[in-house]
């Protein structure tokens, strides 16, 4: 690390590239949450029954709940390894603002979990007989909603990263925060299935995204300072 601070953009790029490289060297960590996403979704038609009508009614909820859970499983990767080998503390000690580091790490996390989820969602929607009017709504809500999941989840991981058995605790902290996203996303998809405009729900998810994008990194930075104490 050079002693003079890098520009914000260079810092962001460096951390993002580092996290992506590390993830590419451990492909399992990236693929396993996605497999989990697919498997959870295949459980529902088997458990509930294969009637197309029932499935298409509950498809938005299933896809979103599975997305929440698989994001939750992948959250550990965000800070855990860096915390264990001490590189997280070095990053916090560096002269660059923690805000930028946190944003870069969350972006990397979203690129590795949120984006593949979005790419796979239409395929799973076909399996669940999702209403054909709902596809664009599903994609838009996932596009705006999964970054919120990464941002809010980062707060939970940052708070629990110093705790030995933080896994269950993490889900207790994060899931209540995820509920609003789930409510508005599924409501938007349901509205779209009726052929009605769903811009209202979409606007609220966008507001959640922008709000958490500006505020969550501060909370994450404060929480990391507590956890690495």
């Amino acid at each position: 690390m050079p002693t003079s601070p890098l520009s914000y953009r260079a810092t962001f790029g460096l951390v993002l590239k580092r996290d992506l490289t590390i993830a590419m060297r451990h492909k399992d960590d990236v693929i396993n949450p996605l497999l989990f996403f697919v498997m959870v979704i295949t459980l529902f038609p088997l458990g509930i029954g294969p009637e197309a009508q029932t499935l298409s009614r509950i498809a938005p909820g299933i896809i979103w709940v599975a997305a929440l859970l698989s994001t939750l499983l992948s959250l550990d990767r965000l800070f855990k390894a860096d915390h264990n080998d001490g590189s997280l503390e070095q990053m916090l000690l560096s002269p660059n603002p923690v805000f930028i580091l946190v944003i870069a790490k969350i972006t990397a996390h979203w690129l590795l979990t949120g984006l593949p989820l979005i790419l796979m969602a239409p395929l799973l929607a076909v399996l669940l007989h999702l209403n054909e009017h709902s596809y664009s709504a599903l994609m838009l809500t996932l596009l705006l909603g999964t970054p919120v999941l990464s941002l809010l989840g980062a707060i939970g991981v940052a708070l629990t990263v110093g705790i030995k058995k933080g896994g269950v605790l993490l889900s207790l902290l994060v899931l209540p925060l995820y509920i609003p996203v789930l409510i508005f996303a599924t409501s938007a998809i349901d509205t779209a299935a009726l052929g009605l405009p769903y811009s209202g729900q979409l606007a609220i998810i966008a507001a959640l995204f922008l709000g958490s994008l500006t505020l969550a990194p501060f909370a994450v930075a404060a929480a990391l300072k507590v956890s690495t104490n």
């Binding site: 809010l152 707060i155 708070l159 629990t160 110093g162 705790i163 933080g166 605790l169 207790l172 902290l173 899931l175 209540p176 925060l177 509920i179 609003p180 409510i183 909370a219 404060a222 929480a223 507590v226 956890s227 104490n229």
Partner: protein, 260 residues
Amino acid sequence: MWKWLHPYADPEVSYHFTGRLLPWLSGLTLILLTIGLIWALGFAPADYQQGDSFRIFYIHVPAASLSMGIYLGMAIAAFTSMVWQLKLADASAAAMAPVGAVFTAIALFTGAAWGKPMWGTWWIWDARLTSELILLFLYLGVIALHNAFEDKNLAGKAAGILTLVGVINLPIIKYSVEWWNTLHQGATVSNLGKPSMSIEMIWPFIFCFSGFAFLVAMVICIRFRSEILARNSIRPWVRSLVIEHISAQSSTTTPSKENS
């Protein structure tokens, strides 16, 4: 104001101050709750539409308001502790969390008991009920996070951050009835000057509400005092308190031993 406030940042001063406050709080709680509950449950007129089952209102509404009020208090304490690094603010937030969780649970339970005769169902996924349930989860998360840390200072800071993140839920609960046109009825006592309920009903409510508020203050005071003692157990003033307590106890118990 700072000159007036700053002695209370000392745990010993706060401990003795809340100790002096406690008899007043418990006395007021006892008087107000006795009058309020007997009046509300026994003598207040029954509602022309809801009959006697509306009386649960006298417990449900104070519990629901206080569950949000306590969270707000916790958030203010967390903010204070984060900005001014006051350790006592952490102690007070830790004292408030379980009380708030219990009041949220009471609000949800009495709400369910009210909903059964009124709406014909114990539970409905309406905006206010759901957001109140999320409030309960937030309280439980704060408590769980607090317990997960060995070091109470770190625990307070971490729980404080989570508390501040959860504050976003408060306006959602408050305005859920207005934003979404739901089954849950709107505010009845929103405006004390011109309430939308009769005057014979509002007086017992005022008694009940302030009685529950003082009850909350009393319980928080008790918990706050024990938090202070737990966190300062190595300080000399706590030790001298303990020694005083033990010697007072042994002086009262020794004569009885001689008798036997």
